[in-house]
């Protein structure tokens, strides 16, 4: 995984970039490779989708990006500058915020909304006279009337309102980026659409960059600019959202897309499903990590670990030997 050099991909700016990041967990004398060399670029104002099955490392990646998860290798950069010192990490956490899946667990039940939303300002040492104005603005930005909601406790709010408070808490520091870990997967259809509207509105009006970490491929397809597909601790495909989902190149992405339930009667039809389950990250298969489940594997797949390579569509890259020009394909085609 060495072919990604700093300035090579797109000469444009990046909000954050992740290069060759590794996270290892020690479990019962075995090592789980939760992130196994992940590289990713997140551009200013961009909505980036990170998709994959549970256990693929997408939430670990989010935590690692905020410095909440110690990494064993690789580096993070913010606007081109490497993040390493404590001060740089602190700056990172001012500019990039995160919200979680469960709005029931992420708010302190004993604090009123006003105190919850003010907390980050206190932690980051923002002058006190600015607090009230910033809190009210953040509340209005997520569509909650400050007069009505600042005095309430979390249990007096619906699930959708709690998620709005969580977003307001993230917004109060006026960040450039917001990482959303399954932000709507616990919400019902109508609430879900309202929360997404708030998030996309923030991206449009404030230029807030978003990362959607989700297992919902239709959602990622509909809202993201780009998508990165993760499998067993690594990005296996990335590119323009419409390209990746409508014309997936990696056999794993193709399998994921096939498995999406379609809200059109008979739309799914009989289909070939991926067999088996995500392997244990303490026993990553040799060669291509997907080869034991891959319907299109061929001779070198069990010994050559593929790197992300161009697949033909601009910016769409896949870590699959089918697209590696140096490997002879069995059928001579793609």
């Amino acid at each position: 995984m060495s072919e990604i050099q700093g300035g090579e991909i797109g000469m444009g700016e990046t909000l954050m970039s992740v290069s060759d990041v590794e996270v290892r967990f020690e479990a019962r004398r075995r090592t789980a490779r939760a992130l196994d060399g992940v590289s990713l670029e997140w551009r200013p104002g961009e909505i980036l989708g990170v998709v994959g099955e549970s256990g693929c490392g997408k939430s670990t990646l989010a935590r690692a990006m905020l410095g909440l998860q110690p990494t064993t290798a690789g580096q993070l950069s913010l606007s081109g500058g490497v993040v390493s010192s404590k001060d740089e990490q602190r700056a990172l956490r001012m500019r990039v915020q995160m919200i979680f899946q469960d709005p029931y667990q992420s708010l302190n039940p004993r604090q009123r909304v006003a105190a919850i939303v003010t907390e980050p300002l206190k932690v980051q040492g923002v002058p006190k006279e600015e607090h009230d104005g910033r809190v009210r603005r953040a509340m209005s930005d997520v569509g909650l009337d400050p007069e009505r909601y600042l005095d309430r406790y979390p249990h007096q709010l619906s699930g959708g309102q709690r998620q709005r408070v969580a977003i307001a808490t993230a917004l109060v520091l006026d960040p450039d980026g917001l990482i959303c870990d399954e932000p709507v997967s616990m919400l019902d259809a109508s609430v879900r659409a309202q929360i997404l509207k708030v998030l996309v509105g923030l991206q449009k009006e404030r230029g807030l960059a978003l990362i959607f970490i989700t297992h919902d491929l239709s959602l990622a397809w509909s809202l993201c600019d780009r998508i990165a597909v993760m499998y067993l601790g690594r990005v296996v495909e990335e590119g323009d959202a419409a390209d990746v989902i409508e014309r997936p190149r990696h056999p794993y992405t193709q399998a994921l897309v096939t498995a999406i339930p379609v809200a059109v009667p008979g739309g799914g039809g009989r289909r070939e499903l991926l067999k088996g389950e995500l392997p244990d990250p303490t026993a990553v298969p040799p060669g291509c990590r997907f080869h034991p489940r891959c319907p299109r594997r061929f001779e070198p797949c069990d010994r050559v670990d593929p790197e992300l390579v161009e697949t033909g569509a601009p910016g769409q890259r896949a870590a699959c030997l089918l697209y590696d020009p140096t490997v002879a394909r069995p059928d001579g085609g793609g």
């Binding site: 309102q161 109508s190 809200a263």
Partner: protein, 336 residues
């Protein structure tokens, strides 16, 4: 052919306030019915009432009749004693509920838990039991070796398969599955749904599938019932309802889903939030959120036939064409 299950005027109340407020539905043998709607609309309560598994604080009324094949007299579920219900549950109707995979006994091997379920309703020698367990595990796509394992040694998908095997242990004619795939990912979800479909074909099983995911329901079921605030507001063949919904709520739910291949972008939101079924607004329950409402909506609409085997509770159904609505009208305010 008489229906396998008939629910007439089911009401469930808590302190006199309804949670389910007059549900009628029928299910043919071998049929798969989808129960859709947002949280709190009464889907799970309807399922539990059908099994008579509601907590004592809830009261249920209405008539539920079950006619399993090979049983001479129809079973009147509402009037059975608790002891009588024990002979019905798992034997004739069984339930796979949400997060069920976490409800396996953690200190007993999977095979032993299956054996217990079988022994509840029939006598079997240990050789017969072993054969049945192996067969059950095979039916749900697991190897016989899984019987010797403990639940923690299995993945989420495998545990959900074990739960389905438990539900099938006494060869019921109806399985109610409440959000059986919600905790699983796409690939695992598709595998479990394919399994349910195969079981229906092979065992002639009838299925009530509860999910908030319309995609899951569309792929697995023959008919769909959409619930809103304690009632069924639309019911019909999946093809008909998805192609031409006749209740505004169904229409808006379908519009809120991204469909790959259509136009990308933010889907339309349904404004506001559903009312508590015990405190419905006057007139039509959906009126405060309905962009298509008119004068007739002052009166609470009855569910009536609006097409072949297609019923909806909307005065204006059947809708020839849906009026254009301003997308900006949706999703305002902090009501969510």
């Amino acid at each position: 052919m008489s229906p396998l299950l008939e629910i007439e005027g089911l009401r469930v109340t808590h302190d006199g306030k309804p949670i389910v407020d007059g549900v009628d539905l029928t299910l043919e043998p071998g049929e798969a019915l989808a129960l859709a709607g947002e949280s709190g609309c009464g889907k799970t309560t309807t399922a539990l009432a059908t099994m008579r598994l509601l907590p004592p604080s809830l009261e249920q009324s209405g008539v539920i009749t079950l006619r399993p094949e090979g049983v001479a007299e129809p079973i009147n579920i509402g009037r059975r004693t608790e002891t009588g219900m024990r002979l019905v549950r798992w034997r004739h109707i069984s339930l796979v509920f949400q997060g069920a995979m976490n409800s396996l006994d953690p200190v007993q091997r999977v095979g032993r838990q299956l054996a217990e379920a079988i022994r509840l309703h029939e006598r079997a020698s240990s050789a017969e039991l072993a054969a049945r367990i192996a067969e059950l595990l095979e039916t749900v796509g697991l190897t016989a070796g899984v019987g010797d394992r403990y639940p923690h040694e299995l993945s989420g998908g495998q545990r959900q398969r074990v739960m389905i095997a438990l539900a099938l242990a006494c060869r019921p004619s109806l399985v109610i599955a409440d959000e059986p795939t919600t905790a699983l990912d796409v690939v695992m979800q598709a595998q479990v749904l394919q399994l349910l479909e195969r079981l229906r074909e092979e065992l002639g099983l009838a299925l009530i599938l509860i999910s908030h995911d319309l995609g899951v329901l569309a792929e697995t079921c023959d008919r769909i019932a959409v619930m809103y605030a304690g009632r069924i507001v639309e019911i019909g063949a999946v093809d008909g309802v998805f192609a031409a919904p006749q209740h505004p709520y169904t229409k808006l739910l379908l519009d809120s889903l991204p469909v790959i291949g259509d136009e990308r972008g933010l889907a339309a939101a349904i404004p506001g939030a559903p009312p508590h079924p015990g405190e419905p607004p006057p007139g039509c329950r959906f009126r405060p959120r309905c962009p298509f409402s008119g004068d007739r909506c002052d009166v609470d609409p009855d569910r009536r036939e609006v097409g072949p085997r297609h019923e909806a509770a909307c005065h204006y159904a059947p809708w020839e064409r849906w009026p254009e609505i301003e997308p900006a009208a949706a999703g305002e305010g902090g009501a969510a």
